[in-house]
């Protein structure tokens, strides 16, 4: 099948559109998703195609509309809830954590919550501290939900339908910097697996583990390392909960060195979890301590140079990889 040029934004939109066409139970709701077209323009045009019942503008009430999505899922619908940014999802955290993630367990398996909640995450657009954080690692802490972080066009296009078929709550984190990313994608690109991490670049000297918005920086770092004679393997986690330990450990056992690149803060982070798992499962295969490149322990600043310095960047990833090689 021929490839077509598309953007990450268009890929997400195509995924929503396809899901709406495939299943009448699917509807989208969130702030500005309808008349405005989505604050990141993801849902542009969908209101005209599907109408107000199914492309549903909500008041600025994160808790109520997220909870309504949860209730609607329990009532037999397949809602896609869009939360503008992960920062605002904290207003819905009670519903996500205390209801969506717990109902199946508290009801002894009687009720499931097949809701999909999408939100933007990440820094890089000079939006300052209340619009720039990467809190997906927090959500990955919670049993009872699945957490996805599509980095590629194929995953942006393909993860949504798989998520909608999942009988449990699925959170999809879209890095805000990726929406404008352009690339070629197969014209017939469809649903993808959401269980496995992907090896995005093969190498045998160090494993760079990352996801979402940091994937392309990490691939760039791997390219820089290659020029220097270091063959880095790059793993895109894709699913942050449950983590695909098998893919991570297989790579680390081969390369004997690992660096985790995570836009979350270092303390108590997803990178800490991954590092601990490598220590638990592959300690005797390691030739160096597991390295980490995370966000600085600071609320993300507004000024461009400070913001850039606060989050993982290519030179820092290259440096961390070199350190595991003693170079």
């Amino acid at each position: 099948m021929s490839a077509v040029e598309t953007t990450y934004r268009e890929a997400v939109r195509a995924a929503i559109r396809e899901a709406m066409l495939k299943d009448e139970r699917v509807f989208l709701m969130g702030e500005d998703v309808g008349r405005y077209g989505g604050c990141y323009a993801v849902s542009m045009g969908l209101l005209e195609e599907f109408g107000e019942e199914r492309i549903r503008d909500t008041p600025l009430s994160e808790s109520a509309f997220t909870g309504a999505g949860i209730g609607a899922a329990m009532g037999g619908m397949r809602p896609i809830v869009e939360v503008m940014t992960v920062n605002f999802s904290l207003l819905a955290l009670d519903q996500i954590m205390n209801t969506a993630a717990t109902v199946r367990h508290m009801s002894g398996g009687q009720f499931g919550v097949p809701v999909v909640i999408r939100m933007a995450t990440g820094a890089g657009k000079q939006l300052a501290a209340q619009h720039s954080h990467s809190l997906e690692g927090w959500f990955a802490h919670i049993p009872g939900i699945r957490v996805l972080a599509p980095a590629t066009l194929e995953d942006a296009r393909g993860m949504l339908w798989t998520a909608l078929e999942d009988p449990d709550p699925v959170l999809i984190f879209e890095n805000a910097l990726l929406y404008n990313m352009k690339g070629q994608m197969a014209a017939d690109a469809g649903p993808v697996d959401i269980d496995k991490a992907a090896v995005r670049r093969a190498g045998d000297q160090v494993t760079l583990i990352t996801y979402g918005g940091s994937l392309f920086k990490t691939l760039e770092a791997a390219e820089a390392l290659a020029k220097d004679g270091v063959a880095a393997e790059v793993i895109d986690l894709r699913t942050l909960r449950p983590l695909d330990d098998a893919t991570i450990m297989a790579s680390v056992r081969k390369t004997r060195r690992a660096v985790v690149v995570d836009e979350g803060w270092r303390s108590g982070s997803l990178s800490a979890e991954i590092s601990a798992r490598i220590t638990e499962q592959a300690f005797w295969d390691l030739d160096a301590p597991v390295g980490r490149v995370c966000s600085a322990e600071v609320p993300i600043p507004y000024a461009k140079h400070l913001e850039a310095a606060a989050i993982p960047q290519v030179p820092g990833i290259v440096q961390a990889a070199r350190e595991t090689l003693g170079r």
Partner: protein, 333 residues
């Protein structure tokens, strides 16, 4: 108690009065037994008793149809019992046995039952309101004429989710019956110490939701109001709000020494208790006869004994299944 209502109101027959009385007595005796079992350490965790508030669940549930949904709070034993979940399964849940209605995973605060569309059992104050909105939205979008009844205490009116949910229900015209069980104390804080507007139903009016206050100690009034409200919801699809003014005779939970209210106040309210009032009225109007009450009490005592025996005989879920019911067990497609 005033004269029974007529017309579209509930049929007040001898049979019906006895039924209402029996339902309230079932809740009362079940919970008295729970309190006793708690002191024996058979039941643990938080135990929030509904004693004194029986008329609310009984009256509303009487008016609901079997395919309507119910969203309740952590003080939900009464709702669960009159909704029709077997008392045996509720008691086994109190014990934490796998034969319980939530298979021992929920306990007192998280009673769930798919068969009666009973969606918990929510221990986050106000947390059930968005869920009810969603259930009603699903019905509306799937063109089903069902109603979601959402119970919550007046303490929930202080939570943002109350306001967000009322706004959404009115804005989207969703078939929700909001039932505020105003027992005058949010945990240990009196209403006038926590709310600037103590007429809770007026808050609903500000969202353009049809709203009324009703004597929540009078089961006939509650049932009549619920029937009218539900008829309106079914007719218009729009939400309705009932503030049922009630009182809990017991502490907030078993850990509460009730230092925030006078014993005299509790005693005075007991005089207006829903079971006592219905009994006295039914005797005065000859709806119940000599021996009726004794017969109901005997039947309920037997039901409670059976429930306790069922729970005692129940089994503990094996530890190997600890991590069950976190994610779906059926394979994903």
């Amino acid at each position: 108690m005033t004269e029974p209502p007529s017309g579209t109101h509930p049929r007040v027959s001898r049979e019906h009065v006895l039924h209402l009385l029996a339902q309230m007595i079932r809740i009362r005796r079940f919970e008295e037994k729970c309190a006793e079992l708690y002191t024996q350490e058979k039941i643990r965790g938080f135990l929030h008793l509904y004693i004194g508030e029986e008329a609310v669940a009984t009256g509303v549930m009487e008016a609901l149809a079997p395919d309507d949904a119910v969203v309740a709070t952590y003080r939900e034993h009464g709702h669960a019992i009159v909704r029709g979940i077997p008392m045996t399964k509720i008691m086994a849940e109190m014990y934490g046995k796998q034969e319980g209605c939530s298979h021992g995973r929920g306990g007192s605060m998280h009673i769930f039952d798919a068969g009666t569309r009973f969606y918990g059992g929510n221990a986050i104050v106000g947390g059930g309101l968005p869920l009810a909105i969603g259930l009603a939205l699903a019905d509306k979008m799937q063109k089903r004429r069902r109603v979601t009844a959402c119970f919550f205490g007046e303490g929930a009116a202080a939570e943002g989710e109350f306001h967000e949910s009322l706004n959404l229900a009115a804005l989207w015209k969703l078939p929700v019956l909001f039932v505020c069980e105003n027992n005058r104390y949010a945990m240990g804080t009196a209403l006038d110490r926590s709310e600037s507007e103590t007429d809770i139903h007026r808050k609903a009016e500000s969202y353009r939701i049809a709203s009324q206050a009703v004597d929540g100690m009078n089961v006939v009034d509650v049932e009549a109001a619920a029937r009218q409200a539900l008829a309106a919801v079914r007719e218009t699809g729009a939400p309705h709000f009932l503030e049922c003014r009630t009182y809990r005779f017991r502490a907030h939970s078993m850990f509460d020494a009730q230092l925030y209210r006078d014993k005299a106040e509790v005693e005075a309210m007991r005089e207006h208790g829903p079971i006592k009032r219905l009994t006295e009225w039914a005797e005065a109007t000859h709806f119940i006869h000599a021996g009726d009450l004794e017969r109901v009490e005997a039947q309920v005592a037997e039901e409670v004994d059976t429930a306790v025996a069922f729970a005692e005989a129940g089994t503990w879920e094996p530890l190997e299944t600890l991590t069950r019911h976190v994610m779906a067990e059926e394979a994903r497609p």
